[in-house]
């Protein structure tokens, strides 16, 4: 029962799972277990508990505030996406209005694992790429979805919301981050078409420094044109909001 087919060399051409071999009509044992391992890692990435205080500590001198949403636990977060788009009342009270160019919001999303692995490093890369902006304290959200950045930016008085969020894990990668930029977000009525998205941010996907560079380009253009979303579509890498976020 060879766990590969004669045309195994085709695997050099694509990350797809080609030429897996056969045991009769079935997958060979090693291929079945290989798939189960990838699925197990993806499931663990979704359900791993999130420790916002660890992320805050990794930010060092950068001030950070940890907040929660209306989703009290993972189950309600998964079955009712709206809960992850609104702050809890106690969290709302902790965000004091100021005058800021931008706020970086870090949310666990569908992969707390991704945020724990790369969140702080990507945050530092973003601050480094945009040193001229007046940044609000970073806000770290537990059980958050993309639109949580709208309410946070409004409460803090920030012109731009940059939301870094754990993306839905696939079998190939369970540690991808997404970046969403929204100019002048309007709580509850901001449409997906008004955001710009950079996805698949991870060391083996879109490298963190490159993602920060693209985000900086978008942020400068958003400030110049006073808008975000499809109006910035030219040259921007990606704009669509994938399902589930």
């Amino acid at each position: 029962m060879s766990a590969r087919d004669e045309w195994y060399a085709l695997r050099d051409l694509t990350p797809a799972r080609l030429a897996l071999g056969r045991s009769g009509n079935a997958l060979p044992t090693s291929r079945v277990l290989e798939f189960q391992l990838a699925h197990a890692r993806a499931r663990d990435a979704v359900h791993r508990s999130f420790h916002p205080e660890e992320i805050a500590a990794e930010f060092g001198a950068v001030p950070a505030i940890c907040v929660t949403t209306q989703a009290g636990d993972r189950l309600s977060y998964l079955i009712n996406p709206a809960l992850g788009r609104e702050l809890s009342p106690t969290s709302r009270a902790r965000l004091k209005r100021g005058r800021y160019d931008a706020v970086l919001v870090i949310a666990d999303g569908l992969s707390p694992t991704a945020v724990h692995k790369h969140g702080a490093a990507l945050g530092h890369a973003i601050f480094k790429a945009l040193p001229d902006l007046k940044w609000a304290p970073a806000v770290i959200v537990t059980q958050g979805r993309v639109a949580i950045g709208d309410e946070i930016a409004k409460l803090l008085g920030a012109d731009i919301a940059v939301v870094m969020i754990g993306e839905r894990p696939g079998l190939t990668a369970a540690d991808s981050l997404g970046l969403y930029l929204t100019y002048a977000p309007k709580s509850a009525i901001t449409q997906d078409a008004e955001r710009n998205c950079i996805s698949n941010v991870r060391p083996d996907g879109l490298p963190l420094a490159e993602a920060a560079r693209r985000l900086a380009w978008l942020a400068r253009e958003a400030r110049r044109l006073r808008l975000s979303g499809v109006g910035l579509k030219e040259d921007a890498p990606e704009t669509a909001l994938p399902p589930g976020l």
């Binding site: 087919d5 004669e6 045309w7 085709l10 695997r11 051409l13 694509t14 990350p15 797809a16 799972r17 080609l18 030429a19 897996l20 056969r22 009769g24 009509n25 079935a26 997958l27 291929r31 798939f35 189960q36 990838a38 699925h39 993806a42 499931r43 990435a45 979704v46 998964l78 079955i79 009712n80 996406p81 569908l110 839905r168 894990p169 696939g170 079998l171 190939t172 369970a174 399902p243 589930g244």
Partner: protein, 462 residues
Amino acid sequence: MYAKVIGHTRYNFPDLKTLLARASPARSGDRLAGLAAQSEEERVAARMALADVPLSAFLNEALVPYESDEVTRLIVDTHDSGAFAPVKSKTVGEFRDWLLSDEATTEALARVSPAITPEMAAAASKLMRNQDLIAAARKITVVTKFNNTIGLPGRLSVRLQPNHPTDDPKGIAASIVDGLLYGSGDAVIGINPATDNVASVTNLLLMLDAMRRKWKVPTQSCVLSHITTTLRSMEAGAPVDLVFQSIAGSEAANASFGVDLALLRQAREAALGLNRGAIGDNVMYFETGQGSALSANAHHGVDQQTMECRAYAVARVFKPLLVNTVVGFIGPEYLFDGKQIIRAGLEDHFCGKLLGLPMGVDVCYTNHAEADQDDMDTLLTLLGVAGCNYIMGVPGADDVMLSYQSTSFHDALYLRGVLGLKPAPEFEAWLTSMGILDSAGRVRPRLANPAAAALLTFDGLS
């Protein structure tokens, strides 16, 4: 007003759409929409009340207003009252009994199909157990043709889905060769493009056409871009076999996909004008899925399974080659776990077939749903028994572009093997000529066979 008294409790349902929603088997999307029954007893009370509703009530009470929704107008205006005669006087409960009776033969079901509205199909399905959905669907045959014949009894076709994260033509060609060597691809070779623009889509269409011609594969190809991109590609002279589009069950939900009935009609006419089908002119390919109307906030207070059936009413007027529900793609907020995905897959397959559609199912799940390969094996097997026209074939079940798990080339071999199902007849003959099928009709490719080895000589791979 509909009502049912159980013991000392009177359950009231103010209108048909509320009654249908409360009667639906539990699923997270209906709860999210605030439409689900509040208790298990209320759910059964709703089913009991629904069982007594005359089918004709669905012709008199629109769930989504006629004036503001072109899908409702389509359903009402195209209703075939002549074909309705055999079931006209039945209640929903009697209709379920009839569907399962000896009277409802393959021919009888085909005759009544044009008279069945999506709401009637949805209503009956809510009174059916999983075995009823399988038994009734199995009696329905829907055959379609383009370059081959899909949906014949005893056959199971596969859409070869060779997606690549950056649309790299070599990577896509590699997955196609792997799929063909595994006996997949008779429903269509269909690529979901990562980039939806005319240049990139046209390049992929040209490559697919070159491959198909080089090996004389009796199948059809498709790049599943937005219909407007496909239209522009056709205008630019691209070799388009099938026109693809995602559709939903209300005008507003279709608008969120950027389409309306006129645009679908226009694209179909354009594809028919190319006259590319060797043996038939079913030129459309549609995808659907429960929850899409709610996610576009365009569900009009109607439950997600009934909205899904309304999408089938859109599909059937365009005489598609293929229609598949992408049942577990949307996520746990609509279908929470394996149980809900399995139920929805069987409902969609049955209701689509009853409405006369060539139904396939993308048996699939995402990593944030409570589901795994065992659940997919169960649904796959049940659909095989139910006579599903086609399933997806994704290398190793892992779609590396869309990041979800579907069924694999191996899964198709399993299903054909345990149920004795064969590929489309033209494709079966081709697989034999290529030395991919052995003398027992099993997929057992050997590169020692020069025909099979020739697949690896495609220019696009080097």
